[in-house]
């Protein structure tokens, strides 16, 4: 009788521990998902800003056809692969970031453009969107790190193995701010 109680008690305790660890894993996985969604929102926002930017810049930068076209092309490509895997996407987004960085650097040599209120507002939005992309990536990677750690440390690694929690990938993307911006000198 006593043995039955003890065994029953141990089973209950184990079940409680299992549920707690399982829930912790679910919570972390959801956090990773949310963080991923946040990156998505910001990348989409960058895509949406570009037509506006092109419209504003076009009139001033008549001699920069190539630069402008590169941005449009990179944007279209990035939009096309928006639903593919992280690897393909991050490459396309890096291209776009680099093209944008170049455009902004070239814009420095157009004083009229730099005085345009519309352009200034767009530039602020663009800078901030770049920052938001890198902050959301930072948060995503931190979340992934925590989730992955949780799937690997001892008691919860058992739960993760049984319930099929797999380690997630980190997201690497080079945004314009981090890519070396082309040096333009006016001497």
């Amino acid at each position: 009788m006593l043995a039955a109680y003890i065994i029953g008690g141990i089973v209950v305790i184990l079940a409680v521990i299992f549920v707690a660890l399982y829930n912790a894993l679910v919570k972390l996985r959801n956090q990773v998902k949310n963080a991923w969604a946040q990156i998505d929102v910001q990348l989409k926002r960058r895509h949406d800003l570009i037509p506006n930017l092109m419209e504003t810049v076009k009139g001033y930068m008549k001699h920069e056809r190539e630069t402008l076209e590169a941005v449009t092309k990179a944007r279209n490509l990035a939009q096309q692969v928006a639903s593919s895997g992280a690897g393909v996407r991050s490459r396309a987004e890096s291209e776009l970031g680099a093209a944008l960085g170049k455009l902004i650097a070239v814009a420095e040599s157009y004083p009229d453009l730099k005085a345009n209120q519309n352009f200034l507002a767009l530039q602020e939005e663009l800078t901030s969107t770049e920052n938001k992309i890198s902050f959301s990536r930072q948060y995503y990677n931190d979340s992934v790190l925590r989730y992955n750690n949780q799937t690997m440390v001892f008691p919860s690694s058992l739960v993760a193995g049984m319930a099929g929690f797999k380690a997630d990938d980190f997201f690497e993307i080079t945004v314009a701010a981090e890519k070396e911006t082309p040096k333009v000198s006016f001497t």
Binding site: Q123, E124, E125, S128, N131, F135, S143
Partner: protein, 404 residues
Amino acid sequence: MWEQIGSNQRKSVILVVAMALLLVVIGYVLGLYFFGNGMGGLIIALVVWAILNLVGYFQGDSILLGMAKAKKISRDDHPRLYNVVEEMKIASGLEKMPDIYIIDDQALNAFATGRDINKAAVAVTSGLLEKLNRDELQGVIGHELAHIKNRDVLLMTMCSILLGTIVILSWYASRVMFFNAMVGGRRTSSSQGGGGAAQLIILAVALLLMILAPIAAQLIYFAVSRKREYLADASSALYTRYPDGLASALEKLGASTCQLKSANKATAPMYIVNPFRKKGMAASDLSSTHPPISERIRILRAMGGASPSEYDRAYQQIHQKGGRGIIPGSAISAAGAISLRAASPAAGKKEPGEMQRKRETSDALWKVNKYRTIDCECGTRLRLPPGFRGNRVRCPHCGRTISV
């Protein structure tokens, strides 16, 4: 690594419990003195505490923001500020965007409110917006959002309500005792023998408590507040990955000699740096609700990485006493090494200069105060007050008549 920072609040909770005990003791002793019954005093103390709590719970934020004369802004009023707050919201993993307020004041300061993590607000002064560049602003906003994320606002509200109750009780009790003594010490003279001795002891204890309790409560309050400031600095460094931004912001804040007009003693611990200073003096190192600014700067500057453990190492290095750090243990073990980022490339030429920031900020203030803006053809910008009723206005510069 994020929630752990917030959830490891054991030490702070112990301090709050100590304050609550202090309140219970003072209520009991005062009850013993005035009614000869400890419970009566205890009930009065709890009622005062409950009332303050209700006021604080339902009105706390609006009272605080109202007292600071803060005005709520939208995205269009000041896009840069809004964007920086949104960036930090993303970096900190907060789920909801906090409301943003501007205080029209040349002093450099900022604070956060909101017991509920989803109903929070940050307020910054217009002086801050004018003087800080983007990286610095990011550091300050990161610090404020860390207060929200770490639930510091809730903790500090609880603390300040306890402190307020203790101060109110001792103040009134001491007035009444003083009055009784003036009138003729009715109580002590009427009692006899052993009862008189007991009464005297209670009187002594009550007097002592009334003098010491508010001071003790204040000290506990300061201790809690300082601890949270260090933690918020560490979190800000973690969010921005750029402690130098906050450090150079703090340098500017510390060097400023403007005094915040709308701050008072009760709201002081909410700000990023203590708003009080002697007239014309810099803010550095005078504060007691906040750690010395110079020390906070030195810690941030000494950081070689962005993780809380790196902050802890820098703290110990500055204090050179080894062993005891300032950041809760679980926050340290959870986070690995995190590298710093470089200063944002926008910090140089592309960023709006101080003149432009001034214009941007005053534009925001005009908008918030519901002034209407009209650009005359000669390039003059006219501002019409919200009470303006006419439908035509003359440009004071070129003399054209503009229809509104």
